[in-house]
Amino acid sequence: MSGAVTGRGGEGPGGGPPGAGPGRPRTAAAGSRGAGPLTGSALTFGRLSWFTALRLLVSPFLLVAGALAVLMALSTANQPLVHTRSDLYESAVTSALIVALGLFAAVTFPAIREVRYGRSPVGPLGRAGRFLAVGAGAALVGWACVAALLALDAWQYAGPVPGLVHPLSHLTPFVVVLVGPAGAMALVAWTRSYTPLLLIALVVPTYGLYTITAFDTAQSVDRVVTRVQSLALMAVDPFPVHSPGVPVLVQLYAAYLGLAVLGLVALALAATGRRASRAAALGTALVLLAGAGGTAAHGATAYTWGVPVSDRLLYGADTVSCRTREGVTYCPMPGYEPWVEQWHAVLGPVLAALPESAADDMPVVWQDSTRFDRDPAGLPPSRVVVYDVRFTDGPWWRLDILDGTARAVFGLTPLWESLCRADGQSRLLLAAWMAGLDPKSGDDDRRSRSGMFLGEYSPSQQDLEVLHVLLELPEERVSEVLRDHWEELSSPRGRTEELAGLLGIPLRGSPHESPAQRDWDRLLSGTDMAYHANPASGPVCA
């Protein structure tokens, strides 16, 4: 014997059995054999989990998935967005899903090892214990990957990140990543084959190839593909409304995922455990999966689009409060308070360009969510809606605020609320001018935005000609006229001719004809817009 030998280890509780006499040489490696049955099995379980985890870490499937997840995290960071904690949460969940898919493939192999080749009793740990240890090892790897990806995000987004995230949602990616291994274990336990993995390996690339190259060529196939796609997405996230900042939604999602993962594990055990315990495991699996289904159904009906989420349901609701800056009221969601100063930085110069009396008409700037319908809770309808997503690759978020503010200040109903015409009204031209009043935006962007604004209210050819000149005038000159004639010019009674006269703009074009395409082209020349105006229709804007 080449191995070192020691005296016999302990014999466990109660001393050694009569048949296993003392003094027998043992190898040094057999050190833990003296442990009691439970502690020893727990130790073996832990060691087998660790053994599995180390092997999974070098699985090519996981390496590919991990690389994809890292690319995803890096690309998210490079998206032209003002990143919020909600974005980071969504990025983490997506990355966790990619890792889960990799783990699904990687875990299939050790799971097959246990169900196909694990029949002989080679140690204290039974088949079910060994199978569970594979799952535990996969969970360790999944959690390590998620933790690494979160660390990458933390490094990428150093510094305070605004946003609305419930603490429980930090755990969500750690549960999401378990879906892959749990699914693989359940499928392998029942099929005892690589077929599920092969099917997925065929279906996923085929789906990708089809959507890229052949989508829209065969409606019947498209319907099937779309249906399967929506079912797959629903299985991952069955809730139409989803936000990490709404505790009840976070809890529902956590409950759904937790029940689904536990249900899948129980389902796997129902096919691998001892015969006596299989029925119990199957029953438990059915109860857990039914619970997951029930949770999904409840969430999908109680919290859907169109059902407003009141502020008291938001995480940190006690901090929800509106605040006023120079007469403008801002109502951010909790976590987005730092954005108030940025919003005000857009509206501040506009306020300076308007007479003091206009402050009475300034709307409330109110933040809504792209992830759920926030309940305005009694705020006046005259409000500018800003969202929790902000792109950084253009002036649009600033112009959106100006757009909404201009409509509110001049009492023009947005196109998407009701269609009306305001041709010949001075307030339409002033509102269009104000909609482009962003010193940080380029002339072309400002002209585009003003032109688009005007086009929504069926302007006349004359309106277009006056706006063309108005946009070229110094801001101070327009402000001066507004200060002196605010009441009449901002009301529906104020006319284009009046405004043109006060500003010394020569009247050109017909007040009764819609502008031709060439007129629009002239206004928008130099921009990348090719605007087609709203045809004259609807009642006169009140």
Binding site: G12, P17, P22, R24, A28, R47, P121
Partner: protein
């Protein structure tokens, strides 16, 4: 008990240093549906190598699986290493001290040889990582597979896989080693190496070896058990089994004719087995026929002769027809 015990009564086991047998079985019955695989087996086993002989379906594998805690007894008492395998906690403890090489072991094909043994060593609770890996390397060296430690199991030959299974069973030098057909597919050199390993281990451990390789039994076992129809029909030393055949084994130059258990040898002569009182084969009076043509010459029996006399001839298997 129906067994012919040539040794020390029930089991004839050499007792362990503590005086109690490592394996103690009383009235073991194991049924698969209506079929009875083990039918009232009584047995005591102690340190040393015990060979299990018997035809296919005699119950050898079932007996080993019962000892390995892989099968539960339908009836009877089984005690392994002083513990009752029917109790979960004690079964766990038995498995900690057990090495088991099943018949036709199937291994996960994507493991390397090292990985497989490492996995087995984890399951056998062998120490920390460094000590475990040292034990794995030792195991691979023991069966001559160290140079193939990085080869995938699926790339190994059948004999190499068998050696790998043997190395897995030997991990941690178990107190009870159960080997079911361990030398299938091994080349002569490896069989000799295997015998050395088992002999070494059997100094302190109880080894049970089920095999059809009579030479292995002759070379290794201090005790032989012959099973037939789920019962032990012989329990004794190999010498005692051979003694039983003395006077019943002959050789002659020509075929002895119909009704004899005989087979042709490499030199053209025939080996003939006779059973006293069977009414078949040459009578003792005609036996000492000298060395002339057609004469029967008494020869020293081998263990194989004895085994065949015990199982094949008694059951009128018509061995002579197969041998022709």
């Amino acid at each position: 008990m129906s067994a012919e015990t040539a040794g020390t009564g029930t089991g004839g086991a050499a007792p362990s240093p503590s005086g109690a047998p490592s394996v103690r079985i009383r009235g073991l019955v194991r049924r698969y549906g209506a079929r009875t695989a083990l039918d009232g087996v009584d047995l005591d086993l102690g340190p040393g190598v015990t060979g299990l002989l018997g035809r296919n379906g005699a119950g050898k594998t079932t007996l080993l699986r019962c000892l390995a805690t892989d099968l539960e007894a339908t009836r009877g008492e089984v005690s392994v290493l002083g513990r009752n395998p029917e109790r979960a906690a004690e079964r766990t403890e038995i498995r900690r001290r057990l090495g088991y090489l099943p018949q036709n072991p199937e291994f996960y094909p994507y493991f390397t040889a090292f990985g497989l043994l490492d996995y087995m060593a984890v399951l056998k609770e062998l120490g920390g990582r460094r000590a475990r890996h040292e034990e794995v390397r030792r195991g691979l060296r023991r069966v001559g597979l160290y140079d193939r430690r990085h080869s995938r199991v699926r790339r190994l030959s059948g004999g190499m896989r068998q050696r790998l299974g043997l190395a897995a069973a030997l991990l941690g030098d178990p107190e009870l080693l159960l080997l079911d057909e361990p030398t299938i597919g091994l080349d002569p050199e490896q069989r000799i190496r295997f015998r050395g390993l088992v002999s070494e281990l059997a100094v302190h451990s109880t080894v049970v070896l089920s095999t059809h390789q009579i030479e292995d039994v002759a070379a290794l076992c201090q005790r032989v058990l012959c099973l037939d129809g789920g019962r032990i029909i012989f329990d004794g030393t190999p010498g005692q089994l051979v003694d039983r055949a003395r006077g019943h084994v002959w050789e002659r130059s020509g075929h002895p004719g119909e009704g004899h258990t005989a087979w042709r040898l490499a030199d053209g002569r025939y080996r003939v087995l006779t059973v006293a009182g069977s009414g078949r084969g040459p009578s003792p009076a005609g036996a000492p026929g000298g060395s002339g043509d057609g004469g029967l010459v008494p020869v020293e029996p081998t263990l194989e002769d004895a085994y065949l006399l015990l199982t094949g001839v008694d059951r009128d298997l018509g061995l002579e027809q197969c041998a022709r």
